[in-house]
Protein backbone atom coordinates (compact mmCIF):
# COMPACT_ATOMS: atom_id res chain seq x y z
CA UNK A 1 0.00 0.00 0.00
CA UNK A 2 0.93 3.63 0.30
CA UNK A 3 3.87 4.81 2.34
CA UNK A 4 3.85 7.26 5.23
CA UNK A 5 2.27 10.56 4.27
CA UNK A 6 2.57 13.93 5.97
CA UNK A 7 0.61 17.12 5.55
CA UNK A 8 1.24 19.89 4.89
CA UNK A 9 4.53 19.53 3.03
CA UNK A 10 5.38 23.12 3.89
CA UNK A 11 4.08 25.38 6.61
CA UNK A 12 5.01 29.01 7.09
CA UNK A 13 3.74 30.68 10.22
CA UNK A 14 4.39 33.70 12.37
CA UNK A 15 6.06 33.66 15.73
CA UNK A 16 3.53 32.98 18.47
CA UNK A 17 1.04 31.11 16.28
CA UNK A 18 -0.25 27.56 16.77
CA UNK A 19 0.43 24.84 14.19
CA UNK A 20 -0.66 21.26 13.64
CA UNK A 21 1.27 18.75 11.59
CA UNK A 22 -0.37 15.53 10.47
CA UNK A 23 1.05 12.07 9.86
CA UNK A 24 -0.65 9.09 8.18
CA UNK A 25 1.40 5.96 8.91
CA UNK A 26 1.52 2.78 6.87
CA UNK A 27 -1.63 0.75 7.51
CA UNK A 28 -1.09 -1.86 10.20
CA UNK A 29 1.98 -0.24 11.72
CA UNK A 30 1.47 0.01 15.47
CA UNK A 31 4.51 2.16 16.19
CA UNK A 32 4.71 5.80 15.15
CA UNK A 33 7.55 8.27 15.71
CA UNK A 34 8.05 11.97 15.35
CA UNK A 35 11.49 13.42 14.68
CA UNK A 36 12.79 16.91 14.03
CA UNK A 37 15.64 17.46 11.59
CA UNK A 38 17.60 20.68 11.32
CA UNK A 39 19.89 21.41 8.39
CA UNK A 40 23.04 19.32 8.49
CA UNK A 41 21.87 17.23 11.43
CA UNK A 42 20.46 13.78 11.95
CA UNK A 43 16.81 13.29 12.89
CA UNK A 44 16.23 14.16 16.54
CA UNK A 45 13.73 11.97 18.36
CA UNK A 46 10.65 13.72 19.74
CA UNK A 47 8.02 11.12 20.67
CA UNK A 48 7.10 7.48 20.10
CA UNK A 49 3.59 6.00 20.08
CA UNK A 50 2.77 2.35 20.49
CA UNK A 51 -0.88 2.17 19.50
CA UNK A 52 -2.77 5.10 20.97
CA UNK A 53 -0.43 5.81 23.85
CA UNK A 54 2.77 7.80 23.96
CA UNK A 55 5.30 5.19 25.09
CA UNK A 56 8.20 7.66 25.16
CA UNK A 57 7.87 11.43 24.96
CA UNK A 58 11.29 12.20 26.36
CA UNK A 59 12.35 14.06 23.21
CA UNK A 60 9.68 16.76 23.31
CA UNK A 61 11.69 19.93 23.97
CA UNK A 62 9.13 21.68 26.20
CA UNK A 63 5.43 21.87 27.00
CA UNK A 64 4.67 23.84 23.84
CA UNK A 65 4.95 20.55 21.95
CA UNK A 66 2.24 17.93 22.17
CA UNK A 67 1.26 14.97 20.03
CA UNK A 68 -1.77 12.70 19.86
CA UNK A 69 -2.75 9.50 18.14
CA UNK A 70 -6.36 8.98 19.31
CA UNK A 71 -7.28 5.95 17.20
CA UNK A 72 -3.87 4.36 16.89
CA UNK A 73 -3.40 5.42 13.29
CA UNK A 74 -3.15 9.08 12.26
CA UNK A 75 -1.08 11.29 14.53
CA UNK A 76 -0.99 15.05 14.96
CA UNK A 77 1.97 17.01 16.32
CA UNK A 78 0.85 20.27 17.85
CA UNK A 79 3.10 23.22 18.55
CA UNK A 80 1.82 26.18 20.56
CA UNK A 81 3.29 29.68 20.61
CA UNK A 82 5.76 28.86 17.88
CA UNK A 83 9.26 30.31 18.07
CA UNK A 84 11.80 30.91 15.31
CA UNK A 85 13.92 28.12 16.77
CA UNK A 86 11.12 25.64 15.99
CA UNK A 87 11.88 26.00 12.27
CA UNK A 88 12.97 22.59 10.97
CA UNK A 89 11.74 19.60 8.98
CA UNK A 90 9.42 17.48 11.08
CA UNK A 91 9.61 13.83 10.08
CA UNK A 92 7.16 11.10 10.92
CA UNK A 93 8.02 7.40 10.75
CA UNK A 94 6.16 4.19 11.40
CA UNK A 95 7.14 0.58 11.96
CA UNK A 96 5.54 -2.78 12.67
CA UNK A 97 6.41 -2.65 16.30
CA UNK A 98 9.08 -0.96 18.38
CA UNK A 99 12.31 0.70 17.36
CA UNK A 100 13.96 -2.68 16.92
CA UNK A 101 12.28 -2.78 13.54
CA UNK A 102 12.90 -0.90 10.32
CA UNK A 103 11.31 2.54 10.32
CA UNK A 104 9.58 3.94 7.26
CA UNK A 105 9.82 7.71 7.02
CA UNK A 106 7.41 10.15 5.49
CA UNK A 107 8.51 13.05 3.28
CA UNK A 108 8.39 15.49 6.20
CA UNK A 109 6.81 18.86 6.86
CA UNK A 110 9.10 21.86 6.50
CA UNK A 111 8.07 24.34 9.19
CA UNK A 112 9.25 27.93 8.91
CA UNK A 113 8.51 30.34 11.74
CA UNK A 114 8.95 33.97 10.75
Amino acid sequence: GAGVSQTPSNKVTEKGKYVELRCDPISGHTALYWYRQSLGQGPEFLIYFQGTGAADDSGLPNDRFFAVRPEGSVSTLKIQRTERGDSAVYLCASSWSGASHEQFFGPGTRLTVL
Binding site: Y33, G40, P43, F45, A99, S100, E102, F104, G106
Partner: protein, 114 residues
Protein backbone atom coordinates in the same frame (compact mmCIF):
# COMPACT_ATOMS: atom_id res chain seq x y z
CA UNK B 1 22.06 10.22 27.86
CA UNK B 2 22.99 8.00 24.95
CA UNK B 3 24.95 9.58 22.17
CA UNK B 4 25.90 8.33 18.75
CA UNK B 5 28.89 9.99 17.11
CA UNK B 6 29.51 9.61 13.41
CA UNK B 7 32.58 10.54 11.37
CA UNK B 8 33.53 11.99 9.02
CA UNK B 9 30.97 14.75 8.61
CA UNK B 10 31.79 15.12 4.90
CA UNK B 11 33.50 12.88 2.36
CA UNK B 12 34.29 13.84 -1.21
CA UNK B 13 35.44 11.01 -3.48
CA UNK B 14 36.07 10.43 -7.15
CA UNK B 15 33.77 7.93 -8.77
CA UNK B 16 35.28 4.47 -8.34
CA UNK B 17 36.97 5.24 -5.02
CA UNK B 18 35.93 3.56 -1.79
CA UNK B 19 34.09 5.26 1.08
CA UNK B 20 33.75 4.46 4.77
CA UNK B 21 31.74 6.08 7.54
CA UNK B 22 32.12 5.20 11.23
CA UNK B 23 29.70 5.29 14.09
CA UNK B 24 30.46 5.14 17.83
CA UNK B 25 28.10 4.90 20.78
CA UNK B 26 28.81 5.93 24.34
CA UNK B 27 27.02 2.82 25.62
CA UNK B 28 26.27 -0.69 24.38
CA UNK B 29 23.64 -0.87 21.68
CA UNK B 30 20.90 -3.48 21.26
CA UNK B 31 21.04 -2.98 17.54
CA UNK B 32 22.13 -0.44 14.99
CA UNK B 33 20.37 0.63 11.83
CA UNK B 34 21.70 2.47 8.80
CA UNK B 35 19.72 4.91 6.70
CA UNK B 36 20.42 6.86 3.51
CA UNK B 37 18.94 10.26 2.81
CA UNK B 38 19.20 11.65 -0.71
CA UNK B 39 19.39 15.44 -1.11
CA UNK B 40 15.90 16.83 -0.52
CA UNK B 41 14.58 13.42 0.50
CA UNK B 42 13.79 11.52 3.64
CA UNK B 43 15.77 8.78 5.40
CA UNK B 44 15.43 5.34 3.81
CA UNK B 45 16.30 2.19 5.74
CA UNK B 46 19.32 0.25 4.49
CA UNK B 47 20.00 -2.44 7.07
CA UNK B 48 19.89 -3.49 10.70
CA UNK B 49 22.70 -5.21 12.62
CA UNK B 50 21.91 -7.06 15.83
CA UNK B 51 24.66 -9.51 16.70
CA UNK B 52 28.09 -8.77 18.10
CA UNK B 53 30.67 -8.81 15.30
CA UNK B 54 27.98 -9.11 12.62
CA UNK B 55 28.89 -8.34 9.01
CA UNK B 56 26.30 -7.89 6.29
CA UNK B 57 26.72 -7.09 2.62
CA UNK B 58 24.41 -5.50 0.10
CA UNK B 59 26.10 -5.49 -3.31
CA UNK B 60 28.88 -2.87 -2.94
CA UNK B 61 27.90 -1.97 0.66
CA UNK B 62 29.42 -3.74 3.66
CA UNK B 63 28.10 -3.11 7.16
CA UNK B 64 29.89 -4.15 10.36
CA UNK B 65 28.87 -4.18 14.01
CA UNK B 66 31.66 -4.17 16.56
CA UNK B 67 32.32 -6.98 19.01
CA UNK B 68 31.35 -4.77 21.94
CA UNK B 69 28.24 -3.53 20.11
CA UNK B 70 29.38 0.06 20.57
CA UNK B 71 30.59 0.83 17.07
CA UNK B 72 29.66 0.20 13.49
CA UNK B 73 30.85 1.04 10.01
CA UNK B 74 29.52 1.26 6.48
CA UNK B 75 31.93 0.71 3.61
CA UNK B 76 31.07 1.33 -0.03
CA UNK B 77 33.35 -0.21 -2.64
CA UNK B 78 33.86 1.58 -5.97
CA UNK B 79 31.45 4.44 -5.40
CA UNK B 80 29.03 5.52 -8.09
CA UNK B 81 27.23 8.84 -8.56
CA UNK B 82 24.04 7.15 -7.39
CA UNK B 83 25.65 6.71 -3.95
CA UNK B 84 25.45 10.47 -3.31
CA UNK B 85 23.57 11.37 -0.15
CA UNK B 86 23.83 11.45 3.63
CA UNK B 87 24.38 8.19 5.48
CA UNK B 88 23.09 7.95 9.03
CA UNK B 89 23.61 5.34 11.66
CA UNK B 90 20.91 5.05 14.33
CA UNK B 91 21.33 3.20 17.57
CA UNK B 92 18.64 1.40 19.52
CA UNK B 93 19.11 0.99 23.26
CA UNK B 94 16.69 -1.51 24.77
CA UNK B 95 15.35 -1.06 28.26
CA UNK B 96 15.53 1.78 30.72
CA UNK B 97 13.93 5.04 29.70
CA UNK B 98 14.98 4.76 26.07
CA UNK B 99 12.49 2.13 25.02
CA UNK B 100 11.32 2.68 21.48
CA UNK B 101 13.81 5.42 20.73
CA UNK B 102 16.34 5.50 17.90
CA UNK B 103 19.30 7.83 18.41
CA UNK B 104 20.70 9.07 15.12
CA UNK B 105 24.26 10.08 14.41
CA UNK B 106 25.00 13.41 12.72
CA UNK B 107 25.40 11.72 9.36
CA UNK B 108 28.16 11.63 6.75
CA UNK B 109 27.50 13.60 3.58
CA UNK B 110 28.95 11.75 0.60
CA UNK B 111 29.73 13.58 -2.63
CA UNK B 112 30.89 11.59 -5.65
CA UNK B 113 32.66 13.39 -8.47
CA UNK B 114 32.27 11.72 -11.88
Amino acid sequence: GQQVMQIPQYQHVQEGEDFTTYCNSSTTLSNIQWYKQRPGGHPVFLIQLVKSGEVKKQKRLTFQFGEAKKNSSLHITATQTTDVGTYFCAGYYAGGTSYGKLTFGQGTILTVHP
